[in-house]
Structure formats: structure tokens, C-alpha cells
């Protein structure tokens, strides 16, 4: 596909998702309390969208991932929350 074909097929969908994200962040701003670590990670991912390096999707997925190499002692719960709970910022 050329860029025009990609645009015809996917621009409206991308526009819609960007506006949904903006609306979600507005909703978060209006809400009481503290935002948890997942929002910090999500915001830290946004500059990736604007850089000129390839593999934006993989780099965002990597940033949200557990970077530690070893198995954990025991699985206390079964679910995943979307961002590694140890995330403390771009350098973690």
C-alpha cells in the first residue's frame, strides 16, 4: 500500500482513537484522587508517537513490560493490569 491508501483505510480510525484518548485524559483530570502508575507509563509512551524511529508499537509494548529477567517466587494473582506494577518512569 502507498501512504494515500493507508490514509484512506486508516485515518478516520486513528483520528477516532486519538480523540477517545484525549477524552479519557479529560475524564481522568476531572476525577478525584491520584492517578496510578499506569497513566504515568501511558503518558511516557506518547513521545514515541512523535519520534522518527521505527517500531513504535514494539517500543510502547516494551515500555509497558516487566523488564526483570527472573521468574517471580509465586503467582499471587492470575491477572495482568496492562503496565508492569514496578514502573517508576522512563528509566525503569
Amino acid at each position: 500500500m502507498n501512504k494515500q491508501q493507508v490514509t484512506e483505510l486508516y485515518f478516520m480510525d486513528a483520528r477516532s482513537k486519538l480523540i477517545e484518548l484525549a477524552a479519557t485524559l479529560d475524564r481522568l483530570d476531572r476525577a478525584d484522587g491520584e492517578a496510578d502508575f499506569r497513566w504515568r507509563c501511558l503518558m511516557d509512551c506518547l513521545p514515541i508517537l512523535q519520534d522518527h524511529a521505527p517500531e513504535k508499537t514494539a517500543r510502547i509494548l516494551e515500555r509497558m513490560s516487566d523488564p526483570t529477567p527472573s521468574p517471580i517466587a509465586a503467582a499471587g494473582e492470575k491477572g495482568a493490569c496492562g503496565v508492569w506494577p514496578g514502573y517508576r518512569g522512563k528509566t525503569s
Binding site: 500500500m1 491508501q5 483505510l9 486508516y10 480510525d13 517500531e55 508499537t57 514494539a58 509494548l61 516494551e62 509497558m64 513490560s65 516487566d66 523488564p67 526483570t68 529477567p69 521468574p71 517471580i72 517466587a73 509465586a74 503467582a75 499471587g76 494473582e77 492470575k78 491477572g79 495482568a80 493490569c81 496492562g82 503496565v83 508492569w84 506494577p85
Partner: protein
């Protein structure tokens, strides 16, 4: 066009889904053993489940013109209790003799714990001993990257297991290359939010080609769509892919991998 659904948890789906799958062109479904949404209280619960996916589901599927195959294992979400896990593992060889069982799966990791890894190794030993194909579940979301690496390193410790007889499932952009570079097959799962969208899945095919890749819906009791594969086929057409390309990914590739089991036969 006919296609193979290589990963579907049909015990969670209605007969309406079988009918819709057939209408959409599905002629084969493969059902890996998985978590029921709650922990089973005893090995007997697993026994009954294995009976269901090796006796009842093939019969139910055939009513709708679909061939049904199964994979047998204890899923990683129930691997923390090692004594229960080993009791279940001891039952598996008998089920591997069933005529529609293709191998061991979906084994793997969930939270990447020591016990999950120990049970994964024991499944791999079982697969090697019984010369079975292996279908591997990789963890969800933030646990996927680390879990995939642990899984690949664990498989490497079983040199008698040929890489091309192992499929690493639920790959995404940050894990697909890891699996393919080790010589394994890789499955791309089409989920509305938590795995690959249809568009991203076709992106992966654009980047990595068609070799050793397949698409699946992994439809189950959660947010999932049994018709995700035909939706991906439509997306490929929208992008100008040829019918041959589509058939390679949704029929010939799964058939190639699955045909390594002598029990797998394409429908007439």
C-alpha cells in the same frame, strides 16, 4: 474460501457459534486445554474436561460440518499447586492416545512464577517422551515479553524437542521475532483489546512475511470473537492481498504445522 481456526475454546461457545463458523468457511477447529475462569478443585475436574474436549466437542462440531481436534495439558494459571499439577500430568499420556489429540498445549507461563516454569518443563519432558507437538501460551500484557523469553530459554533446555514442532502463541510486535528466530512457529491472536487487532495482525504479516505464522481467534469465555479470522481475511483483501496469500495464512500454514501430527487430517 475455507479456513482453519487453529485455536478456539469451543467448550465456552454455543452451537450458534459452530454454525456461524461453518457459514464463514471454517472447516477445522483446534481446541487447546485452558483455564475455565476458576481453579478446578481436583484432578477429576481436569479428567472430565479432557473427556469433554476429546469426545463431546468433536461430535458437536461434526454436526456443523467442522472437524475438531484438541490439545491436552494443565494450563499455567493452575500450575501453582505442584501436587495437583503432577496428578494431572500423570493423566495426560492416556489422553494423548485419543484419535483427535494433536499434542501438548496450551502450556506456558502466566505470571512467570517458579512453579509455572517447573510445570512447563515437566510438560516439555512429557512432549519429548511421547513425541508430541507443543502449543505454547505466552503471558498477557506486561508479563508477555519476560514470559516469552523465559519460555524460549526453557525450550532450549530440551534439545530433543525440534523447534519447528513448537508453536509460540499470542505473539505481538515485541515478541514475534524472538519466537521466529528460534525456529519456532508463531501464532497471532486476534483480540479486540488485549492482544492483536486485525489491522496489527496484518501489519505483522506485512513485516515478517508468511513463513511459520498463523492467525487465530482464541475465542473463549472472555472478550473475544469466534469470527476474528474471517475478519482478518477481509482486512487482507482490503489491503489488496491475493487470495493465495490469504489461503496460505489461514489454511496452508496451519495445515503444515498441524500435519506434523499423524492424527491431523484435512477434511475432504
Amino acid at each position: 474460501m475455507h479456513y482453519i481456526e487453529p485455536h478456539a475454546h469451543m467448550v465456552s461457545r454455543t452451537t450458534d457459534d459452530y454454525e456461524r463458523l461453518h457459514l464463514a468457511g471454517c472447516r477445522v477447529v483446534c481446541e487447546p486445554a485452558f483455564w475455565a475462569g476458576f481453579d478446578r478443585s481436583s484432578a477429576d475436574g481436569f479428567h472430565d474436561y479432557f473427556e469433554q474436549i476429546t469426545r463431546f466437542e468433536p461430535k458437536r462440531a461434526s454436526t456443523y460440518g467442522i472437524a475438531h481436534y484438541a490439545w491436552i495439558c494443565l494450563n499455567p494459571k493452575e500450575a501453582e499447586d505442584l501436587s495437583l499439577a503432577r496428578e494431572v500430568l500423570s493423566m495426560i499420556p492416556a489422553f494423548l492416545e485419543r484419535p483427535t489429540v494433536l499434542g501438548i498445549g496450551e502450556i506456558g507461563l502466566n505470571k512467570n512464577s517458579n512453579n509455572e516454569l517447573a510445570v512447563f518443563h515437566e510438560h516439555l519432558t512429557l512432549a519429548t517422551r511421547h513425541q508430541q507437538l507443543v502449543l505454547v501460551h505466552t503471558p498477557h500484557l506486561e508479563d508477555k515479553r519476560k514470559g516469552t523469553q523465559l519460555i524460549l530459554d526453557a525450550i532450549r533446555e530440551h534439545p530433543d524437542l525440534a523447534p519447528e514442532r513448537v508453536l509460540i502463541d499470542h505473539v505481538e510486535e515485541h515478541t514475534v521475532r524472538l519466537a521466529l528466530d528460534r525456529g519456532h512457529w508463531a501464532g497471532i491472536t486476534l483480540y479486540p483489546t488485549s492482544k492483536c487487532s486485525v489491522a496489527r495482525a496484518i501489519d505483522l504479516l506485512d513485516v515478517y512475511g508468511h513463513e511459520r505464522l498463523w492467525l487465530n481467534s482464541a475465542c473463549d469465555w472472555g472478550v473475544s470473537d469466534p469470527l476474528a479470522v474471517p475478519q482478518a481475511m477481509r482486512e487482507m483483501r482490503r489491503r489488496g492481498r491475493t487470495e493465495k496469500d490469504i489461503s496460505t495464512i489461514t489454511w496452508h500454514n496451519p495445515a503444515r504445522f498441524l500435519s506434523q501430527s499423524p492424527r491431523f487430517h484435512l477434511p475432504e
